[in-house]
Structure formats: C-alpha cells, structure tokens
Amino acid sequence: MTAMIELESVSKRFMKRLDVAEKLFNLMGGDVREQTVHAVDKVSLAIAEGEVVGLVGESGCGKSTLGRVIAGIHPSSDGTVRFKGHDIEKMSHAEAKEWALQVQMIFQDPMSSLNPRLRVRDIIGEAPAFHGLVKSNELDDYVDDMMLRVGLDPSFRRRFPHQFSGGQRQRIGIARALAVKPAFLVCDEAIAALDVSIQAQVINLFMRLRAELGLTYLFISHDLGVVEHLSERVVIMYLGRVVEIAGTEELFARPNHPYTVALLGEVPRIDRRGQTFVPIKGEIPSPINPPSGCHFHPRCPHAMERCRVEQPMLREIAPGRYSACHLNDQS
C-alpha cells in the first residue's frame, strides 16, 4: 500500500514568541529575549492510506507543529515530505493544489477558526465553489449534503457561527473540511474544547465519516483515552522527537519507552478508585535548551551514563514497533 504521507527526517525551527507573563514583565522594564525553538527534530513517519494514527505528547512537544507541516500550513525547515509518493518540494502546480485540498486540518477552537462574518452556507460552500469542485447551481444541495453528513440541520444554513453551540461549530469546521473532498484529516485537539457530553457525539461522527468515506486520520490529542479509542497506531513525541510508535493495543498493553510507561501510568481512569497518584519526577524541559543525549534522561528512572551523552535513535524493536531508548540495546 502507498503511504498517504511520508516524512523523512523532517525538522521545524521557530523563533520563540513571548508569553503573556513575559510580555507583562517586559512592559514593566524586564528584558526577556526571543530564542530558537526546535519544535520538530528529525521526525520520520509514514501514514498509510485509510489508517488512523494518534499523536500524543506533553504540551509544547511539537504535535501541532508536526500536524501543520503535514497539512502544508507550515513549510518544514529540513527534511523531505512526500504526499502519495511525491516530494512536495518538487510538485507541479497541479499536484500541489491536489495536496492542499486532499489534506485538511481541523482545529481545537472551532470559534476562532470560523469566519464570524460568513454564513454557514458560505463557510462550507466557499472552497468547493472556488476550486470548481461543484457547479454553482448545485452548490446549495451540496452544502445541504455536507451539513446532513455531519449531523447539522440544513435549515440552519443561513445562520452565523456565533448562533451555534460549541459542538455544532466543531461540526461546521468538519463540514467545511469535508466539502473539498479530502482524503486525509489532521485533527488537532479537535474535541478538547467541547463539553464532555458533546465529545462523544463528535468522536462518533469522526468514526462514522471514516467508515463512509474511507478517510485517513492523524488524530492529535493529549487525551490518551480518546486516542486509544480511535487510533490503530500511536506515535509518542517528547520534546520534538518521536520516541515510540506502536499498534494501539500493543502500546497500551506493553509500552516500551520509559516515557510512554510513565505517561500511561499517569492517566486517570474512570475505573480506578482511591488511586494513589505517583508522579513522573521533574518538569517538562524547555525545547529551547533541551537536555543532551536522550531528552528524557533527567526524568527517566533508568537513565545511565550513556543516556546523557548519546541520543538513542528510533529503531524497529519488533515488527512494526519502534522505540528510541538505549535499554533496547542491552538484551
């Protein structure tokens, strides 16, 4: 099977922006400078057609950045991205356009990603009309179809985004993405901002659309329960690097990387009672100045001398299972 998307040693670097506390501090005469962030550091990854891959990691580890590179929103700083076998840097104009339409991103905050001045009909219909995917006399029917598909009443088509609930707005965002007939959806924390009782509705919608349209998904989430529920394969990131890739069942049953082990141990679960919480020690280190060798070594209970100096490479430890930890060299 051809890979839908293939990354080879892809990196993305940024100049770090200042956060609110830092800006306030500077306003009061402080001096906090901007620095380079290695948001994504030599990531290689392939996602097959029709696959659902979950991407997990702590805040700031580079999940959204990786998702944006894949969706073509950010150019990568280094490395090769291939869409259906074609290097995106060497694509013809027509191929690049196909890529832009076939890969759609769905964001966390449905409100800020929808133009508040457009009616739902125009939000959903604009792109397919512009790209000539639908004839103008068929556009209204097409929009109605899209709305029905995501469970929105087409009689709401003249409303504005603010006239909908959070869950409905997320459906509008999904309908807008589907309207250009994509093959691949990158969902970045797409249910995180929704109420608990609404999350299940949207999760079910994603699963139904996959069955109906044969979509491929990259599902970015910090909620391990949701990732476990939806994904066939899971990718774990730590400070810009992929540290483990495994089939979902395998990963949750037998995590290999010490970071994955710790992460799974932290998840509150509804079937755990009187849980005694045992924390991973230490803070998430800064991606501006990451620890040497294995980035996880200051927090790792198994860290050895070698971990401080030598970066463990992501390698196949069993068929289809990858991990980046020196412990795998010892057996």
Binding site: Q168, S197, L230, P268, R269
Partner: protein, 328 residues
C-alpha cells in the same frame, strides 16, 4: 465545636445573576457537605454552576450576581451574610481557592518570595525571616526543587505546571481547613496533573484538610475523591460516595456521562452519546432541566423532581425515573 461538625455545610444555596436579559439562576438550590479530611468532587459541564458555587462559598460573587438564598456553614459558623472583613480573614487563611489560571493568584511583576511573604504576613504577625522560611517550606511541599533559589524567580520564569504549584503553595501557607480547587489541572499535561494530584492527595491524607475538587473530568474525580456531586444547569442532580455514583449511577445524566467516556473494553465502538446540548440559563426547559435530552423523560418530568434516595440513604438523586442501578 463537636468533632462531627462538617468543615462545610451548604444548604439550599441560590446564587442568581440579575442581568438585563433576565435572571440567570446559576446556582439554584444546591446542598452538600464536606467532612474533615474529605475530598468532594464537583462535576458538571461548563456553565453548570460549579465556579459560581465555589465563589459563593468564599464570598466572591460580584454584582450583578448575588447569593439570593440558602445557608453556608463553615466549621459550624454561618458565613452566609458575613461581613467583608470577616470573609477577608477567612479567605487565604482558613478557606483557600485555587483557580484554573494560576495567574489569577500570582502577580506577574513581583518575585515569588515577595508575594508569598506578603501572603504569610497578611494573616500572621510574624517577622520576615519566619515568613520566608514558611514560604520556602510550602514550595518544597508541592514538589518544587531547590525552593530557596526558586523563590527569587518571577512567575514568567516558571512553566504553567510550576506556576500552578506555586499557586497551590500559596493556598497552603496557612494550613487552611478547606481548599476549593476550580479545575486547577485542566490546562495541564497528564504528567504535571499527576504531580499535582499527588501533592494534594497527600495533604488531605496527612493533614485532614478538606477539599472540593471542581472538574468536568469524571476520571480524575473517580481516582481522587471520596464523594461526588454531579451538577446540571444549576442543580445537583446526583450525589453520593464515588463507588455509588460511578458504579451505579441513578440519574440519566450521570448514566449518559459515564457511558460517553471512552474505555478500554469498548475500543473503536461507537460511544453512548447524550443527544442535544445543555440549556441556556435564561431559557430553561420547564420542570426537570434535563428532560429535552433524557431518554427516560415522560409527562411527569414537566414538574421539578425532588430529591429522593431510592437505593441507599446517602445516595441522593433528583429524578422521577432513576435507573435501577445497573452499571453504565
């Protein structure tokens, strides 16, 4: 004071917002109690009235909002209409609140030591040195490494998780009897959330501190709390011990919530979903506020259900047709 006096007793609390568009009954007849050393989880979706309940207890409801009815007893003392002076004495010393955003507690332009020493001296007449030592110990207690050094830092030099821990340390400075924590870990990562849950749990176990943990995350509450109150549209619809409510939910809303959480054994299958969405406070359905979304609703539900205890005396529900108690 009898030892069985609960740390907090809330009876029929009503907090209303008198807005131009009408009266929003954000909290409408809420009753619960928290015993010494007990952890109570207050769960509900956004807008259900959790934060307003917390603000009502510490006396921070601002106009157009107002506590319109009911009683709040803290260690047996009625603080419902207490003077601002009395509430200021209690806040930060006997009752503390931790907010979702730690910058609600922290001042971005002051060093942590300045802020903490000030917080100590606001309630205790001690010298700077003692205040400094107490601040340092409090930071150590919430797991901040090299606290003496970190005290000299400004808030922006900490990560989000560290800032939240500083805010918790400030809340703990006077060893309060009650902490109200309003979604303090919602914005944090699981690993950092785990660290904070660990510290807070230790304090309740070791010090007999009472805790109200406000969240929309049932899974966190299941692991942390002793008892749980489930709120919907300004009312508590179900309350009881964790095992009672989570293993044998009575209310259709609780039932739906639990069924909608992804779990191990139903991987890849459609989740049970609650149809529709929460009502607006200004446009509440008649009778049971849940009826437009409830699979068990009938004509009776156009009246407001009272509190009943169909299974066990301390497992209360507001519903005409509660579940028999099969697991969700």
């Amino acid at each position: 004071m009898a030892s069985n006096t609960p740390t907090l007793l809330v009876e029929d609390l009503k907090t209303y917002f008198y807005t131009k568009a009408g009266v929003a009954k954000a909290v409408d007849g809420v009753s619960f109690s928290v015993a010494k050393g007990e952890v109570l989880g207050l769960v509900g979706e956004s807008g259900s009235g959790k934060t307003v309940t917390g603000f009502s207890i510490i006396g921070l409801v601002d106009p157009p909002g107002k506590v319109a009815g009911g009683r709040i007893l803290f260690n047996g003392e009625d603080i419902t209409g207490a003077s601002e002076e009395r509430m200021r004495r209690l806040r930060g010393s006997r009752i503390a609140m931790i907010f979702q955003d730690p910058m609600m507690t922290l001042n971005p332009v002051l060093r942590i030591d300045t802020q903490m020493i000030e917080a100590v001296q606001a309630h205790d007449k001690v010298d700077r040195k003692t205040a400094f030592e107490r601040s340092r110990d409090a930071l150590g207690q919430v797991g901040i490494p090299s606290p003496e050094e970190r005290l000299k830092a400004y808030p922006h030099q900490f990560s989000g998780g560290m800032r939240q821990r500083v805010a918790i340390a400030i809340a703990l400075l006077h060893k309060p009897d009650l902490i109200i924590a309003d979604e303090p870990t919602t914005a944090l990562d699981v690993t950092i959330q785990g660290q904070i849950l660990y510290e807070v749990q230790k304090l309740c176990r070791e010090r007999g501190m009472s805790l109200i943990w406000i969240t929309h995350d049932l899974a966190v509450v299941a692991g942390l709390a002793d008892a749980i109150c489930v709120m919907y549209a300004g009312r508590i619809v179900e309350t009881g011990a964790i095992a009672q409510v989570i293993d044998q939910p009575l209310h259709p809303y609780t039932h739906g919530l639990i069924g909608s959480v992804p779990s191990h054994n139903r991987r890849g299958q459609p989740l049970a979903q609650i149809p529709g969405m929460a009502p607006s406070l200004l446009n509440m359905p008649q009778g049971c506020a849940f009826h437009p979304r409830c699979p068990r609703a009938d004509a009776k539900c156009l009246e407001i259900p009272g509190v009943t205890t169909p299974r066990q005396p301390d497992h209360r529900v507001r519903c005409f047709h509660p579940h028999a108690g099969a697991a969700a």
